[in-house]
Every structure is written in structure tokens, then in C-alpha cells.
């Protein structure tokens, strides 16, 4: 069975891993200068493997923002806004079709304005994820000989974002300390990928609901308590990939991804907060290298939010470079 050859197997595993890291649009883009973040991705453990250790290092640079009307505006003159993240994670196979993962980012905010500099750090929001793999064997094929060969590998999952980061509702001094959003969020996730070696196509969709919470302080000041709930969140992405088998059967996979993220307006005591909600789009390019034994996977990605008017709303524009290493245990 050609579909079970190491090369094809690896290609599918790499795409799933890359999509797991990219389609949950990093909420860190809400971070650094204003709004918290540093979480939101999840891990996807390759089929037939028992566990995986993963660590990634991300550097995000800010390039202005879109206002509510979709107009892109520059950051203040003389400003340099950045966020660094180190995100360790672990994924564990529960049974042949179920897996769980946990990631916990650590975030450094490095912001410079003409009249102010700030350098803070702290935990980001953690994510606990579960995936159900709706397939029992590798779905990567070398050629399509029947309809069955077109069957994609499908993952269905759920994830819980845990507000371990520092949010505006903690006892913090100012907005530069923020590394998380302060809300629990439940996401329903789906990932489908089809690899007809060396080409691959993957689609991922996610819908998240924030849990309503009480707020009795903002930036360390106690206020009249109220209830706040962030808006529901939709994200989706589509990725194309191409894999190359190297001399020693190592694999190199190139992936180009388009992603969209939209969060509805929040509510305060049940009334809509019309100043909230956002939308954005991104394009990313990723390169992943996997050893023949598939035990080590090294990846690098560049994520870009195009700064044209109309491509975002109420959201900062950023470029992010991420380097990650996974160690997969059979």
C-alpha cells in the first residue's frame, strides 16, 4: 500500500502539525501594546504516535492597526512595538483515535514610544485541546485510483482557553502588562487535510464561545461590578502544501496558508458593546523539516497581515516569525 509509505505518512503528519499551529490564529495579535494575548494555538499529534513535546519561539512586530471602519492607521511616530513568545506544549495519545494537548505560552511585551518605554513579561493564556481522528490509517496517497483515495484525513476537536495570562481585570498597573484576555473560551474545531503526494490541501475551521465573567476591577482599580462576555469567534484557514523528499528520506514541506478571523462584539451586562469586535486576515508561509524517522520536526513560519484598507477591522497589523521544534515519540 503506497499510502503507508514513510514519505507519504510524514507529509500528512507535517501538514496537520503546521495547521494546528496556524489555523487557530494566534490571539497574541491582540497583545503587546494594547490588548493581551499569547495563546490560542493547539497541537496535532501525528497518527500512530503516542506523544509529542513541542516548543516554539515567536517574534511578532506591530505595524499599525485597522480602525472599526477598516481603515489602516499607523502607530505613533517613533514607536516600536513587539512581542516575543516561547510556547512549550505537550500532546498525548489517549487511544488510537483520540489525543489531547496542552500549551502554555510565556510572553514578553517590548514597547517603545517616543515618550514611553515598557518591557514586561508573564504567562499567556493556556490552551487544553482534544482531537478525534476520524480515520484509522494514513490518508495520504500517491495517485488517485478510486474515490476512496480522495477521502481526507479529518480531525474533530474541542479546545478550552484558560485565562492564565495577565488581563486588564487583574491587579495590574497598566495595559503594557497584559499577556492574556482574561476569559475562558470553548472552541469547536475541525481540520481536514488531503495529501496526494507531494501536494496537499488542508481546511480548518473553528468556532469559539467565550464564557461570561464577572469583573470588579480594571487595571488594579476596583469598580462597580459588572458582567462581560466577549463575542463569539470564527476562524478558518486554507492551506496548500508541497513536500520534497530529501536524499536520506528526510522530508521538507512548504505550506502557504490564508486565514481569516472574526470576533463578534462583546456584551456588558447583556448589552452589546459596539466598540468591540474585530476581523482580520493573514497569509503565512511555513517550511517544515522532518527526519526520516519522523521523531524530530523543525518548522519555521512567517505570518503576515496585509496592511491594506479593508483587510481588517479594529485589530493591529503584525508580522510574526515563528521557529518551532517537535519531538515525536512512537
Amino acid at each position: 500500500m503506497s499510502s503507508l509509505t514513510p514519505t507519504c505518512d510524514k507529509s500528512q503528519a507535517l501538514i496537520a502539525l503546521l495547521m494546528g499551529g496556524t489555523f487557530f490564529f494566534s490571539t497574541s495579535a491582540w497583545a503587546a501594546s494594547c490588548c493581551g494575548g499569547g495563546g490560542g494555538a493547539t497541537l496535532v499529534l501525528p497518527k500512530f504516535f503516542s506523544s509529542m513535546h513541542d516548543i516554539s519561539i515567536g517574534y511578532e512586530q506591530y505595524h499599525g492597526f485597522w480602525n472599526k471602519d477598516g481603515e489602516h492607521l499607523d502607530d505613533p511616530p517613533g514607536s516600536d512595538l513587539n512581542q516575543f513568545r516561547v510556547t512549550p506544549g505537550y500532546a498525548l495519545r489517549i487511544n488510537p483515535n483520540w489525543q489531547a494537548s496542552f500549551i502554555l505560552p510565556y510572553v514578553w511585551n517590548d514597547n517603545k514610544y517616543a515618550g514611553l518605554s515598557s518591557n514586561t513579561n508573564g504567562l499567556g493564556d493556556a490552551t487544553l485541546g482534544f482531537w478525534y481522528e476520524n480515520f484509522d490509517d494514513i490518508k495520504c496517497v500517491y495517485a488517485v485510483n478510486s474515490l476512496e483515495d480522495l477521502t481526507p484525513a479529518a480531525y474533530f476537536g474541542a479546545s478550552l482557553t484558560i485565562p492564565t495570562g495577565v488581563s486588564p481585570y487583574d491587579d495590574v498597573g497598566n495595559s503594557f502588562d497584559i499577556t492574556g484576555r482574561g476569559f475562558y473560551r470553548l472552541d469547536a474545531n475541525m481540520l481536514m487535510d488531503k495529501t496526494i503526494f507531494p501536494w496537499g490541501l488542508a481546511l480548518s475551521l473553528s468556532y469559539g464561545i467565550y464564557l461570561e465573567r464577572d469583573v470588579n476591577q480594571e487595571y488594579g482599580n476596583f469598580i462597580e461590578p459588572y458582567k462581560r462576555q466577549l463575542g463569539n469567534r470564527f476562524s478558518g484557514s486554507l492551506a496548500f502544501s508541497y513536500s520534497v523528499t530529501l536524499e536520506k528520506l528526510d522530508t521538507l514541506t512548504y505550506t502557504l496558508t490564508y486565514a481569516n478571523l472574526k470576533e463578534d462584539e462583546a456584551s456588558i451586562n447583556g448589552a452589546t458593546d459596539t466598540t468591540s469586535g474585530f476581523e482580520t486576515q493573514s497569509v503565512s508561509f511555513a517550511l517544515a523539516y522532518s527526519t526520516m524517522a519522523k521523531d524530530w520536526i523543525v518548522r519555521m513560519s512567517f505570518n503576515h497581515l496585509p496592511t491594506n484598507d479593508g483587510l481588517g477591522s479594529n485589530f493591529p497589523a503584525t508580522d510574526t516569525i515563528t521557529v518551532g521544534v517537535s519531538y515525536v515519540i512512537p
Binding site: 492597526f65 499607523d74 505613533p76 504567562l123 481585570y169 492574556g180 448589552a271
Partner: protein, 181 residues
Amino acid sequence: MLFLRLLFFVLVLYLSACTDILDDINPSDSDRRGDFDATTIGYHPGETAADFASFDTLNQAFTMSVELAGSDAIVLYFTMWCPVCDSHMTHMRKSTIPYYPGVKFYFVDYVSGIVDVARASQLNNGYGTSNVLVDDVNHTVTNLYNATMGTTVVVDSNTIVQMNEDYKDGRKLQEVLEALP
């Protein structure tokens, strides 16, 4: 499993050492505002507002007590020209400012420190006709009012702080302005 146990141990250690995070893990609805009155000068609602002097982006001197004379109140909104700030400021300009002609509204740029830079941000963000104050590099005004991004301060004509909290959806600001003495 060793990794999981280690991760759990580190997490518990961190959380137990950092009560800040527990505010989000287990949010509270208890009202913990203190009792403040006009006998003290401070930034809490109920206290007498601290007077301050500054400059606006047209290099004109500003003194709060002077501007307050003859006004119903002064509203200060602290901005760092971010998406949240812009959303708040746009909302305030559209939904609040036109309806309170006796109140003076000021956006306080607390990140630029330099009048020219603040003016450039003001124009770039489309607030050329708004009143923008420039906090100095020592963040004097920001510190006086314990302010940060989105902080909205209302000082009434008796120099009493009526509000000092995040702008959010603007409803609280309108409630406070409606109830001005």
C-alpha cells in the same frame, strides 16, 4: 507522564505565587470599592481631583482648574492611539460629545511625550479637530489619575472625581454625565 507532572507542578507553583492570575481563573463579583470623600485629594470617585498643568497639541497651556471654571465638567480619556482607543474615541465623539455642550472633552496622549509627535498621531488618526493634551515624559497626569489605555476620568465643576475607569461601551460615561450636579 513525567513531563505532564512537571508541567502541572510548575503551573501550580506559578499560580500559587501569583494571585493576579487567580482573578481571571476565578473572577469575583464582590464590590470592593472603598469609601472616598472630598476631604482627600486623589483619583478615586468621590475624592477631590488633583489639579494639573499640561500642554495641548497646539502648544497651548492647559490648567485643569482654569478650564473647569464655567464648565459642567471635564472628561479626560487616556489614549495610546491603538485600535481599542480609536474605537472608544470614535464612539465618544459620535455618541457622547455632541450631547454635552457644557462639558469639555480632552484626549490625553500619554505615550508620545512630545507635542509634535502627539500632534502627528492626532492628525494621522483623524482627530485634528479634537482637544488633545500631551502628558509629559514623566507621565505626570497619567500617574495622578492612575490611568492607562482607555481610562476615562470625569471631574465635575466642584472638582470632584465622578468617574475613573475604562471607557468600555460608553454607557457608564453617559450615566455619570447625566447625573452631574
